[in-house]
């Protein structure tokens, strides 16, 4: 609360700073001692709220004091303290009300343009909740709170981005969370010096230790159930406003191969699904490399039938095996990219023309071998088995490393590459936690603790 000084009221300063905005609205209600100055941004504030809860009551109530106490006690109203908070809140869509006695209030009337809660698009699930996070922070927090009704669930608000002023809610289970990681996260959030945060994935880039990594170290999800599941494991959620996604951290490699289906199925089917996914991961990374190594270096490794088959189908191919693989894989990448970006109605056509016709024609013409087509499609399909998008892209890039290694060293190169990748994964840390361990025991310990809390043995 500040007493107005003649000449340079806060409101006037504010209107000077915001001058030149076409959507700036300044109004005077009443006259003299009973008057109220009003300032807001038309685009950010809900005009029906303005007329119904601000303007109409002013004229209905005769007494200015009664009106002031109405405004003061209206839920969401805060007292304007200084210029900075005023500016920030007006930009968010608050209405700034200045009474003649110098009191300044910020009346919450912000308009939120966000898509309603809709079905998930990027992580589809068969059985289970299909709602996804929206672009609205409040709605997202609401979605999480609904599923995790515990007094331990905490939500802290911070703002990231000098220009975008994106609100980020840090949510965690007070009991299960690792306090050291929380502290580390706060420090790192403070340290982010960027203008804009437009997507949750971007936050990941700024948060982690090394910028250029091959693998993502935080999970970005649009599924509230995944977020809540991780919350119960003691992880921290960053609910980023306006993005529609939530960041989960710290994460381990295994998280990227977990689909929420695994938890819903019977345990054995769940394990089976997970095994299948790891299998798909391995196939899509090393199958093309194996083809290169096999045809160019070590044809004696496989059975003679396979050797003769490959030799026969490669007989008309005019270039070395690694070029053959590169050409086909790059074509496949084009195809995937094209069908992603195309409008949904044209997508299937592109796939058919590209995949079926091109593949058949290429083999008929003798430019690539039959086996190669099988391998390329196997790689493409098995790549889509990975549930989280970011990991899928990492794996797509990875396979080229293996092809290069295989083209230089043969089968030896594939094993060298595998050992190298395992070592690299082990060297990664997600907020100080080891990223890749074969027995994720820490996570297990958390689950056991959760069981204890719930009175299980």
């Amino acid at each position: 609360m500040r007493i107005r000084q003649s000449g340079d009221s806060l409101l006037q300063q504010l209107s000077q700073q915001l001058s030149g905005n076409a959507d700036l609205a300044q109004k005077e209600l009443g006259r003299g001692a009973d008057g109220v100055h009003m300032l807001y941004l038309k685009s950010m504030s809900d005009s029906s709220i303005v007329s119904r809860y601000v303007i109409t009551p002013f004229y209905e109530m005769k007494d200015i004091l009664a009106y002031e106490s109405y405004i003061e006690n209206y839920p969401g109203t805060t007292v304007g303290k200084d210029e900075k908070t005023l500016l920030e809140n007006v930009l968010k869509g608050f209405i700034c009300l200045e009474f003649e006695n110098g009191h300044i209030y910020l009346f919450e009337a912000n308009k939120n343009e966000s898509s309603p809660v809709s079905d998930g698009q990027t992580e589809v699930i068969v059985q289970g909740p299909s709602d996804a996070f929206t672009e609205n922070l409040q709605v997202n927090i609401n979605l999480i709170r609904h599923r995790y009704q515990s007094e331990h669930l905490k939500a802290e608000l911070t703002v990231v981005g000098a220009k975008s002023r994106t609100r980020v809610a840090i949510m965690y289970d007070d009991v299960r969370v690792d306090k050291a990681i929380l502290e580390e996260l706060r420090v790192r959030l403070e340290g982010i010096k960027v203008d804009l945060i437009q997507g949750a994935g971007e936050l990941d880039k700024h948060l982690s230790d090394t910028k250029h990594r091959l693998f993502p170290t935080v999970v970005v999800t649009e599924r509230p159930d995944r977020a809540v599941f991780n919350l119960s494991e003691g992880k921290i959620l960053l609910v980023v406003d306006t993005t529609g996604y939530v960041v989960i951290l710290p994460s381990i490699f295994n998280d990227y191969l977990t689909a929420m289906d695994d938890k819903l199925q019977l345990p054995i089917s769940g394990w089976f699904l997970k095994t299948i996914r790891y299998f798909g991961l391995i196939i899509s990374t090393i199958l093309p490399a194996i083809y290169v190594a096999f045809t160019s270096f070590n044809p004696e490794v496989w059975k003679v039938q396979i050797a003769l088959l490959v030799a026969g189908s490669r007989a008309s191919v005019p270039y070395p095996s690694y070029l053959e693989v590169f050409i086909m894989l790059v074509l496949m990448e084009f195809l995937t990219e094209a069908s992603l970006r195309l409008p949904k109605s044209i997508g299937p056509t592109a796939t058919t023309v590209g995949g079926l016709i091109l593949g058949t024609a290429a083999t008929e013409a003798g430019l690539v071998s039959n086996i190669m087509i099988i391998i390329v499609s196997a790689v493409a399909i098995s790549n889509f088995v990975i549930p989280l998008n970011m990991m899928m892209y990492s794996i797509r890039v990875m396979k080229y490393f293996f092809i290069i290694f295989a083209a230089v060293f043969g089968l030896l190169g594939i094993v060298l590459g595998l050992v190298g990748v395992v070592m690299y994964l082990c060297s990664l840390r997600s907020f100080g936690k080891p990223y890749f361990k074969i027995f994720a025991l820490d996570q297990w310990a958390n689950r056991v603790q959760g069981g204890k809390e719930n009175g299980q043995k």
Partner: protein, 369 residues
């Protein structure tokens, strides 16, 4: 900080890698000359050394050899000692790499020039050896656990093979009472040597307690017996000495119908390729850390970081250079070098043990007065 289980992995990788490091072949060379007995003798010796070393290291919690020596001895003593000990690990890694490059040249990539194969090995090893100590342990765990089922598969496949000659094995056992030589005892104790890696890895163990020492001894005994007798069961008591790599000959004698790969040799090769890479990474990581300890300045932190980087790069260049130079040795010289290393190693280990014990006693006396 890591759990105690990683100690067992360190032990296991060394026990398994002994197949590459000429241990079975040296034993086979002396098979009529006390090899059987030296296997039995090596078990108590190795166990005692292991217990003593782990007990001593647990007196210095979360400290590696450089901290122990630099902290308690003057620089003139500790630095040369660190350099000296680092050579043991360096040679261990070097022999593993060179032996495996030789095997690769024979079985997998005869078309590829050997220096390219070595460069491939060096790329991965030099990249990985500079990682954090914990990370190396995690990697070791992953690769070991993934490969163990395969190892068990080979063993079962071998032992239940109808062509496995138990008579040849029994004939070998009848040579039990021959008097062993020092060198074959030294070679047999190599399976235990994993414990010595604590010299650096002790840094990351919170509170090292080695339980179930009998299990380690038993594993070592079984490993040695299998490493020594399995090739004999496949290639005969007499014929085995003709083969340069007895274990790869044995793997080549196994055929499987279950995979698209028909020859077990290739599966075995891949398993051991990962093992030898990991083993070389751990050995050279220790060498690197010891050398860093030896050349560490006791000044400001920034400068320390800089020297570390210099030591890192110097080590990478020197290690790679030596490895590439050693590639010119022929197979007999290589074998000889491996033999000498295995013999010297045991003495080196006992010396290291004695050094740490002396430091410990000095520390204790210093405390009591």
């Amino acid at each position: 900080m890591v759990k105690n289980k990683y100690f067992y992995y360190l032990f296991l990788i060394t026990a398994l890698i002994s197949v590459i490091n000429y241990v079975p072949r040296s034993l086979i060379d002396r098979r009529f000359d006390g090899a059987m007995m030296s296997i039995l003798i090596s078990i108590p010796i190795g166990t005692v050394l292991l217990i003593l070393f782990t007990k001593l290291m647990s007196k210095f919690p979360q400290q590696g050899l450089p901290e122990i020596l630099n902290g308690n001895l003057s620089g003139f003593v500790s630095r040369p000692l660190l350099v000296l000990y680092s050579t043991i690990w360096f040679v261990a890694g070097l022999i593993t790499i060179l032996a495996f490059v030789d095997i690769t040249m024979r079985y997998i990539s005869s078309d590829v020039p050997s220096y390219i194969v070595i460069l491939g090995f060096l790329l991965i090893i030099c990249f990985s050896m500079r990682m954090r100590t914990e990370s190396i342990l995690y990697g070791l765990e992953v690769l070991l656990v993934l490969n163990l089922p395969l190892i068990i598969y080979y063993l079962l496949k071998g032992i239940f093979n109808p062509y496995f000659s138990w008579d040849a094995v029994r004939q070998m056992v009848t040579y039990l009472w021959d008097i062993p030589h020092y060198s074959s005892v030294a070679k047999s104790t190599f399976v235990f040597t994993g414990y010595i890696n604590l010299a650096i890895f002790n840094r990351v163990f919170e509170n090292l307690k080695v339980r179930h020492v009998w299990l380690i001894s038993l594993t070592a005994l079984v490993t040695l017996l299998i490493a020594f007798l399995m090739p004999i069961g496949f290639s005969g008591v007499e014929g085995i000495s003709k083969h340069v790599y007895p274990w790869f000959t044995t793997a080549d004698s196994l055929r499987t119908k279950a995979f698209i790969i028909e020859r077990v040799l290739f599966l075995f090769y891949f398993t051991y390729l990962t093992f030898s890479l990991v083993s070389a990474i751990t050995s050279w990581h220790i060498t690197l850390e010891l050398l860093k300890g030896a050349f560490q300045s006791k000044q400001g932190k920034d400068q320390g970081k800089n020297t570390k980087k210099v030591v890192d790069w110097a080590c990478i260049i020197i290690f790679s250079g030596i490895t590439l130079l050693m590639d010119n040795l022929n197979q007999y010289t290589m074998y000889k070098v491996g033999q000498i290393f295995l013999d010297v190693r045991l003495i080196g280990e006992i010396m290291l043990l004695a050094t740490i014990f002396l430091v410990f006693r000095k520390l204790k006396r210093g405390r009591s007065t």
